[in-house]
């Protein structure tokens, strides 16, 4: 409580406010930007089957012939009322997004949940032996994983665990009306593929930070006073690494919500990433705009949290001491 009343609280309030302002800017950028994308939602949907007159007619019916700013104002108004509009498929966007955002967030959340311990453990393990075979192995392994595209990894996992061993379902066919969380067996491989790809970045950054901390006089001193290695990692290395790691985790996590397209495809997982790409490809502007706004808001929130984390995790900043 004292924290919130103090400098941290002020900082947080300010950040949330700027976050809101940024979101407003983002909404304009997104709306106008998406509108400028090549392609036309009507022709994209009608395909070659429609005559130009019909296209024009439909454009008018969809209000696409109005100036972009007018449409922006209408859209924003709707958004504020909680109505992100209607997809070009005729469905309300809110209905299309309802579950999918949650499903993707579930995937990303689980992934981050595993990412934190995995990347910390691997990063610290490598950092404790810089330049040694163990370090090389971890680093090279992580790099190999990140170099192999996620859909290749995902396909490999399917071949191994589903087709080969028959341990897990190959496709996440979640029955209608069920939430994915009730089918953990269908989550294993999507989460694992994302984890394998996403962890490389965190591992490498954590390793780099930890190496420099471990080489410093503080760790030397702790070791000289006979503090156990595990305690050193916990009390001196991890706290020093966390401010950077938290950035990476949060940004990676939010990135997974919209960015796990290919993994969602391979497993036919009903997430928002696939929807985003389908909508982009099909020129379904209202859907694209809504998803981008949601992802944008989530990212901005994550960034605020990351900023806050840096302050909270760095005593010098948290206590509002001199710079």
């Amino acid at each position: 409580m004292t924290l919130l009343a103090g400098p941290v609280g002020r900082r947080l309030a300010l950040r949330v406010a700027t976050g809101g302002a940024l979101l407003a800017v983002l909404s304009l950028l997104v709306f106008v930007g998406v509108d400028l994308l090549p392609g036309d939602p009507v022709t994209a949907r009608l395909g070659p089957n429609a005559t130009p007159e019909r296209v024009a007619e439909l454009r008018a019916a969809r209000g696409l012939d109005e100036p972009v700013l007018t449409r922006y104002a209408q859209w924003l108004g709707g958004l504020l009322r909680g109505d992100p509009g209607t997809s070009f498929s005729g469905k309300p966007v809110s209905e299309m997004l309802a579950d999918r955002v949650g499903h993707s967030a579930l995937l990303a959340g689980l992934c981050v949940l595993l990412l934190v311990p995995v990347s910390l453990a691997a990063g610290l393990y490598a950092a404790r032996r810089p330049g040694k075979p163990a370090d090389r192995t971890v680093s090279t392994g992580a790099l190999l994983l990140v170099s192999v595209p996620e859909f290749v990894i995902a396909s490999g996992l399917v071949l191994l665990f589903a087709v080969g061993l028959g341990l897990l379902p190959a496709v996440s066919l979640i029955p209608a009306g069920d939430h994915p969380i009730r089918h953990p067996d269908m989550l294993v491989m999507p989460v694992l593929s994302l984890l394998l790809v996403a962890s490389a970045y965190s591992i490498r950054v954590i390793r780099a930070c930890a190496v420099s901390v471990l080489a410093g006089p503080r760790v030397e001193f702790l070791r000289l006073t006979g503090v156990r290695e595990r305690t050193i990692l916990r009390t001196a290395v991890v706290p020093a690494v966390l401010p950077v790691a938290v950035q990476v985790w949060l940004v990676t996590g939010v990135g997974l919500v919209g960015g796990a397209v290919l993994v969602e495809r391979v497993f036919a997982y009903p997430g928002v990433g696939d929807l985003l790409v389908t909508a982009v490809l099909g020129g379904d502007l209202p859907v694209v705009q809504a998803i981008v706004m949601i992802l944008g808001a989530a990212m901005l929130l994550a960034l605020v949290l990351a900023d806050l984390a840096v302050v909270l995790l760095t005593p010098r900043l948290r206590t509002g001491g001199a710079v």
């Binding site: 994308l37 090549p38 392609g39 036309d40 939602p41 022709t43 994209a44 949907r45 009608l46 395909g47 070659p48 089957n49 429609a50 005559t51 130009p52 019909r54 296209v55 007619e57 439909l58 019916a61 997809s87 070009f88 498929s89 005729g90 469905k91 209905e95 299309m96 997004l97 579950d99 999918r100 396909s155 399917v158 589903a162 087709v163 028959g166 379902p169 190959a170 496709v171 066919l173 979640i174 029955p175 209608a176 009306g177 495809r265 391979v266 497993f267 036919a268 009903p270 696939d274 929807l275 389908t278 982009v280 490809l281 099909g282 020129g283 379904d284 859907v287």
Partner: protein
């Protein structure tokens, strides 16, 4: 119905036909996976755009007529008789048809359906309104209507069968899970867009109840994932699987790769823009057709699952003209190009991956055009911009494909699109004749005439016809092809 599994060159490893001789037994659940459209899937029969939408809605709703082997067959309607001037027709409906909620199917439902499907509020207003005046239908009695047309139509049944014209209940505008009521063999039990539909058998189906208790459709966009679902036992049938999968083969004694037969192939083509240089010159169009290496394209893009095309669309449709494909003749092609003074002419070949193989075939086509002295280059764009009318008009060649639609449909579409249309008087006349013709013989002559023009100086380069492959458990039986093999009819399917 349409057998013939022997002559699939690529499927030497014994691709079976979709329609197996086995008949399904009563009961059980059939699980099928098709490509879906994610969250935009819908139970509205006029909103769906993806295979799973089509396949699903085909068994929930019925059409007035269906296509079988390219010919219309009565379904909810028994008869469509054109008036003398061809400017209207009388539609007679089947009696004793019940909706899933038990009410009776009547002419009012048809009138509403016509209005609903052609309403400009629909995301995809029906193309039928290019031919019929759908808003001005008059209901004569409970089972009879009169439908005015906008041009003389001699064979309205074919048109009604060719375009998705599902019948919905009078007044229906909401197609949520509870309100998706049709007359088809299955009713909706559960639906989640982009994921799954569960259908249960409708016992009072007018065509006789289906064998299977339950049909489960899953949407899986990735072809490999569809294959995997069947392979690992999560599904019994996967529609539209890639050639490469078939080529690699799938082990498992209870699995088989099936083709839809050689009358149900997709024609792959490049449509040349005959309204601008250089393809406004029939010589250059012919040169392009001589330049294209059909065998190579079939081998590369279709991996041999298909055969070279004769540049005409809709092989397998009624009245299709079985001309022999042109032989590749680069010398002659170069000569023609030179003669037309089109050497070094710029050719932009526009493509997007609308279907697998579009971009690859375009790349090969461009190289082949270069060999005859045209300065060709591909223009690969995103799906969203592919059909932009202005851009299409700027392109010299557009990659395109079609299943064996009835000829009026395909040529009607092409005529409606400036950059696809062939500005040729003889062709135009023959096409008009064919549309208005009231007897089979007249139509046959007219279509032969029109296709002769196409074969001589046409603007379509249908380089190959491709098999439609699916993966099924061997005991899956009763799968039918109606209008398009990619969207098979599962109303009579089940497990043997």
């Amino acid at each position: 119905a349409c057998g013939g599994s022997s002559d699939t060159p690529g499927g030497t490893d014994g691709a079976a036909s979709d329609a197996t001789s086995d008949t399904p037994v009563e009961g059980g659940t059939l699980r099928a996976v098709f490509a879906g459209a994610g969250a935009s899937e819908s139970l509205d029969p006029f909103a769906g755009t993806s295979p799973v939408d089509f396949v699903r809605n085909d068994v929930i709703y019925d059409s007035l007529f269906i296509l079988r082997d390219g010919a219309p067959e009565p379904a909810l309607a028994t008869d469509a008789e054109p008036a003398a001037d061809g400017m209207s027709f009388t539609l007679r409906l089947r009696e004793g048809v019940l909706w899933h909620d038990g009410s009776a199917f009547t002419a009012d439902d048809v009138a509403h359906s016509f209005r609903y499907m052609s309403s400009p509020d629909r995301p995809l207003p029906s193309e039928l309104q290019m031919y019929f005046d759908m808003g001005n239908v008059t209901v004569e009695d409970e089972h009879t209507l009169t439908v005015p047309t906008v041009q003389p139509i001699g064979d309205p049944a074919t048109m009604l069968a060719s375009f998705p014209a599902k019948m919905v209940r009078s007044g229906a505008t909401d197609f949520s899970t509870e309100n998706a009521i049709g007359t088809g063999p299955y009713r909706v039990a559960a639906f989640e867009a982009g994921r799954e539909t569960r259908l249960t058998r409708f016992e009072e189906y007018w065509g006789g109840a289906s064998p299977t208790d339950e049909l489960v459709f899953s949407s899986v966009s990735d072809p490999q994932a569809r294959v995997n679902a069947v392979r690992t036992g999560q599904a019994d049938y996967a529609g539209d699987i890639p050639f490469s999968t078939a080529k690699a083969g799938i082990e498992g004694s209870d699995l088989e790769i099936r083709t839809a037969g050689d009358t149900n192939r997709t024609g792959f083509a490049f449509v040349l823009n005959a309204n601008r240089a250089p393809f406004d010159d029939p010589k250059v169009r012919r040169a392009a057709r001589l330049a294209v290496d059909r065998a190579r394209l079939v081998e590369t893009v279709l991996l041999g699952y298909g055969e070279p095309g004769n540049d005409l669309f809709c092989k397998g449709a009624r009245y299709f003209s079985e001309a022999r494909p042109l032989k590749r003749d680069l010398e002659e092609a170069r000569r023609l190009v030179k003669e037309a003074g089109a050497e070094g002419a710029k050719v932009v070949a526009r493509s997007a991956e609308y279907e697998a193989g579009y971009n690859d075939s375009t790349k090969l086509f461009v190289q082949q055009l270069r060999e005859i002295g045209l300065d060709a280059e591909e223009q690969i764009v995103s799906l969203a911009e592919f059909f932009d009318p202005a851009a299409l008009e700027e392109a010299d060649s557009v990659t395109f494909s079609s299943s064996p639609l009835p000829l009026p449909v395909i040529y009607g579409r092409m005529a409606a699109y400036p950059s696809f249309a062939l500005p040729d008087d003889e062709f135009g006349a023959a096409f008009g004749e064919a549309m208005a013709a009231r007897t089979d013989a007249e139509r046959r002559t007219a279509w032969a005439k029109a296709q002769d023009v196409m074969a001589d100086r046409g603007n379509t380069v249908v380089w190959g016809v491709a098999d439609i492959l699916s993966l099924a458990r061997t005991n899956v039986a009763g799968i039918e092809v109606r209008d398009q093999a990619k969207y098979p009819y599962l109303g009579k399917a089940g497990l043997a």
